[in-house]
Symmetry: C4
Subunit: 291 residues, 4 copies
Amino acid sequence: MAQDYRFFAATRRRCFALLFEHRTRSGRRMETFWIAASLLSVVVLFFESSASDLFPNTPDILWRFGLLELGFTALFSVEYVLRVLCSPRKTHYPVSFFGIIDLCTVLPMYILWMMPSLAGATDLVVLVRLLRVLRVLRVLKLLRYMNDAGILWRSLMRARRKLSIFFGFVAIILCLFGGLMFAVEEGKDGFTSLGASVYWAVVTLTTVGYGDITPHTATGRMLASILILLGYSIIAVPTGILTAYMSQELEKGRAARSCQNCLHSGHESDAKFCAHCGAVLDSDRSQPVDK
Amino acid sequence: MAQDYRFFAATRRRCFALLFEHRTRSGRRMETFWIAASLLSVVVLFFESSASDLFPNTPDILWRFGLLELGFTALFSVEYVLRVLCSPRKTHYPVSFFGIIDLCTVLPMYILWMMPSLAGATDLVVLVRLLRVLRVLRVLKLLRYMNDAGILWRSLMRARRKLSIFFGFVAIILCLFGGLMFAVEEGKDGFTSLGASVYWAVVTLTTVGYGDITPHTATGRMLASILILLGYSIIAVPTGILTAYMSQELEKGRAARSCQNCLHSGHESDAKFCAHCGAVLDSDRSQPVDK
Amino acid sequence: MAQDYRFFAATRRRCFALLFEHRTRSGRRMETFWIAASLLSVVVLFFESSASDLFPNTPDILWRFGLLELGFTALFSVEYVLRVLCSPRKTHYPVSFFGIIDLCTVLPMYILWMMPSLAGATDLVVLVRLLRVLRVLRVLKLLRYMNDAGILWRSLMRARRKLSIFFGFVAIILCLFGGLMFAVEEGKDGFTSLGASVYWAVVTLTTVGYGDITPHTATGRMLASILILLGYSIIAVPTGILTAYMSQELEKGRAARSCQNCLHSGHESDAKFCAHCGAVLDSDRSQPVDK
Amino acid sequence: MAQDYRFFAATRRRCFALLFEHRTRSGRRMETFWIAASLLSVVVLFFESSASDLFPNTPDILWRFGLLELGFTALFSVEYVLRVLCSPRKTHYPVSFFGIIDLCTVLPMYILWMMPSLAGATDLVVLVRLLRVLRVLRVLKLLRYMNDAGILWRSLMRARRKLSIFFGFVAIILCLFGGLMFAVEEGKDGFTSLGASVYWAVVTLTTVGYGDITPHTATGRMLASILILLGYSIIAVPTGILTAYMSQELEKGRAARSCQNCLHSGHESDAKFCAHCGAVLDSDRSQPVDK
C-alpha cells in the first residue's frame, strides 16, 4: 500500500519533471514534441479552413480532417489530464493562464461532438464557428516554451501607466475627429454613424488607411489631412516608451548573467564564453537534472 | 444678513472645493462622478447615432434617446451654472478653455430645442448635424482629470518651432508633388484639381495610402514611388523631435519628486517607496484637505 | 554724370538690401510682403484649379482668375528684373537655385500668352498643363526665408552615402519581389508588367498600401506577407540615419550660440536669455543695419 | 609545355585579379563594366515586360528584345565560365552565393531555348514565367560591388535571435486575431479562410492596409481597432533592435579606421583627412596592386 503510494508519487514527480521542467534532457525532448504537436495542429487547422479550395476532387476531405482533429483533441486532452494529475498543488494549474488555454483548446470539440444539433442551428452559426476557431489558441501553448517572451510582457506592464495616458489622449482625438467627420461628410461614403467615423479615425491616425471609408468633400479632406499630420507627429510616442523599457529589461538580463570564474557580469544572453577571462559560461539551460 | 452672506460664501467655497479641487476626498468622489457622467454621455451618443441599426424593432427609440439627452444636458447645465457661480473670479472660468468646452456641449441642445423649425430646414442640415455632434466635445471634459496630459502639451509647445519648420518643408514638398501629379495624370483617376492632388500627396507621404486616388500612368507611378521613398526618409523626423522633448519632460517630472526622509530625488512618478532609503513616498494626491 | 552714377549705385545698394538682406527693418517688411505674395499666389492657384466646382454660378470666373494671375505674374516679373539688376555680380543670381525658380514661375505664363494656339492643341495638353502647373513652384520662394531649412538639407547631404547604400539594397529587394510576384500572380490583378509589380513592391514595402494592386493567389499572399515583414524590420533604418545626423546638426547650432556677457554657449536657438547669467541674448536677427 | 602551363597560370591569375579583385585599377574598370551590364540587362527586362504597351506600332519588338537577351545571356555565360576557370579552388566558386546567382541568371534561358515546346504548354505557364523572371536576379550581381552591404547583413545575423523571438510573438498575435476575425466576420467580405484572415492581420498589423479585405460588422471593426492599436505599440520594436546593432557595426567600422600618421582612430568611413592631425587618410580602395 505504502509501496503503491510511493510508486505513484515517484511517477507523478517524474511526470511533473517531464511536463513542467524543461531543464532535464527528456524534458527537453518532451518540449520539442509538444511544440511540434501544437504547430502541426495549427497548420492542420489552416488547411482545414480552406480544404474545399485546396482539395476540390476529394469529397471526403472534411471527414479526414475530422479524424485528424480527433487525434489532436485526444492528445491534448491526455496532456491536460496528466498536467492536472501530476501538479503538486491540484488547484494551481487549472486556474493558471496556461491551464485555461489548455482547457479552451479541447473543450469546444467535446461540446460540438456531444451536441450535433448545434452545427445545424442557423442562428448559432457564429457561436459554432467561434467554438471551432478557439482551437487556434493552441498557438498560445508555444508561449510556454518562449523563455524571452516575458521581456515584452514585463515591459508592457511597466509602461502601462504612460501607455494608458497616451491612449486616453489618442481616444479623445479619435472621438473629436470622428464626430467632426460625421457632421461634415453628411452621413455619406461610409460615414454612416459615429462608430463608423471613429473606426475611420483609428484606421487613418495609425496610417493603416484601408480606403473602405474615405472623405469626398473638400472640407472632409482638409480635416483628414489635419488628422493625418497631427497623428503623424505623435505616432511614435508609444513605441518610444516601450523601446525604452525594453532596452532596460534587456540590460537587466545581461547584468544578471555573470561568469562563475572571474565574476565578470554583463554578458549577452547568447554568449558562450566569458568576454573577460574566456571561461565557458553556463548556458541558460545546460544543467541536466535527470539521471 | 451678514449671516446669510457668510453662509453663501461658505457654500460657495465648499462648492468650489468640490468642483475644482481634486485633492479632497469628496472632491475625488465628485471627480469620479463627473468622469463617469462624461463617458456615459459620449457612449450614449455613439448608440444614438446608430440607433436605427441597433434597435430596428423599437420605433420610439430616438424619443427615448432624446429623453436621456435631456437628462445629460440638464446635468451638465447645472454643472456649468455651479462652476460659474462658485468660482471666486466670475470672469475667469467662462473664458477659460474648459469653460468654453462646458458651454459648447450644452448650448447647441437649447438652440435645437428652441428652434424646432431648424431640424426641418433642408439647407441647414450640416449646421444641425454639427450642433448635434458638438456634444462629442464632452469627451474633452476628461482632460480636466488627466494630470499627465500636460506633458504631451508642454512637449508640443516647446517643439513647436522645429515642428513648424519641418511641416513648412513638408508643405512645400506636398505642393510640388501635388502639382506635378496634377499635370502628369491629366486630371483623370481622381486627380481632378490641385487640392485633390495635394490631398493625395498627404495620404501618400504619410504612408496612409487610402487608394481612393492612385496614379495609373507609368510616369505617375514613378513620381509616386519617388515621393514615397523621399517621404520615407524624412517621416520619423517629427516623432524624433517630439520624443526627445517628451523624455526631457519626463525626466523633469522625476527630478521634481524627492524623498522627504533622505532627500533623494529622481523617483519614478508611480514609485511608492524611496529607492534609496525605503521610506514611504508621498503619493501625488495623498494629502486630504477637507476635514 | 558722376552724380547720376552715384545715385544709381546707391539705389542699387538700397534695392539689394531690401531684396536680399533680411536683417534690416525695411528688409524684414519686404520679406513679409514677398512671403504673403508667394503664399497668396499659390492659394489663388488652388482655387483656380477647382474654380468650376467652387463657383458654378459665375460663368466668367476663369477670366477673373486670369486677371489675378496677370497681376501676380507682373509682380514676380518685376521682382525678378529688380533682383537681376541690383545684384552686384550680374551672372550670379540668374544661375543660382532661387534665380532659376524665380524665372520658372513667370516664364511659362508669357509662353502661354504669346502662343494662344498652344492651349487648343490636343496633343500638347500635358505640356500646357505642365506649364500652367509650374506656377506652383512659387511655393519654393518661401524656402528663401526659412533660415533653418538648411539643417535638413545639410543632414541629407552628410547622410547621402549611407542612405544611397540603403536605398540600393532596398532597390534590389524591390526588383526581386516585383519579379517573383509578376511570375506568381500570372499577370492578373494589376500585375501586368515588371514595372507595375515593382511599383506594387514600393507601395507595399513602405506600408503605403494603396490596394489598387493586390495579390489574390495563396502563394502571392504568402510572398506579400514575407515582403511586408522583411521590409517592416528595415523600414526605420533611413530615418534612424537621418535623425542621428539631424541631432548632430542641431547640436552644432546650439554650440554656435553663446552669451556675450559670460561666454556660456549651448543655448537653444529660441532662447531669449542666457541660462547661466541671465543676460539678454542676441536674437538671430536683431541687429538693425539700415539707418 | 612548362612554358605553356606557366602562361596559362599567369593568364588565370590575371583573369582572377580582373574578375574577383576590385582593388586594381583595371579590376575597377571591369567592376564598372559588370555593374553597367547588370543594370542594363535588368532595365531591358523591365522594358521587355511592357513592350507591347510601350511600342504598340512595332510588331517585331519582342523578337528584337529576344536578340538583346541573347547578347546578355552570352555575356554572362562567358563571365560565369571565366570565373569558374580562373578561380584557384575549382569547387569553391560554383557553390558560393554569387556562383549560384550567376548560374541561375543564365541557365533558364538555355532551358527555354532548348525546349521550345515548353513555352506553348498551357499548364506550365507559371513555370515558364518563373524561368523568364529569374533573370531579374541579375540585380543581385550588384551586391558583389556594394562594400557596405555587409553591415546590414551582419546586423541581421547578430540580431536574429531577438528578431525571431519578436516575430514568433507577432505570429501568435496574427494567428489569434486572424482566427477571431474569421469567426466574427462569418466568412464574408474576403474573410473566406483562416489563411486569408491571417493575411488580413499581417496587412493590418504592419499598417500596410490594402483594403482588399476589410471588416464590415461592428464587432469586427472593434476587433480590428484593438489589433491596430496593439500592433501600433509594438511596431517599432524590430527596427529598434536592428538600429541598435547597426549603429554598433558602424561604430566598429569607424574604430577600425585609423590615421597612419598619429594613430588616431574613429574616423568616418568617408573622411579624407585625419580629424586630429590633418594627414591624408588611406581611402578604402586606394592601394593600386597591378603594375
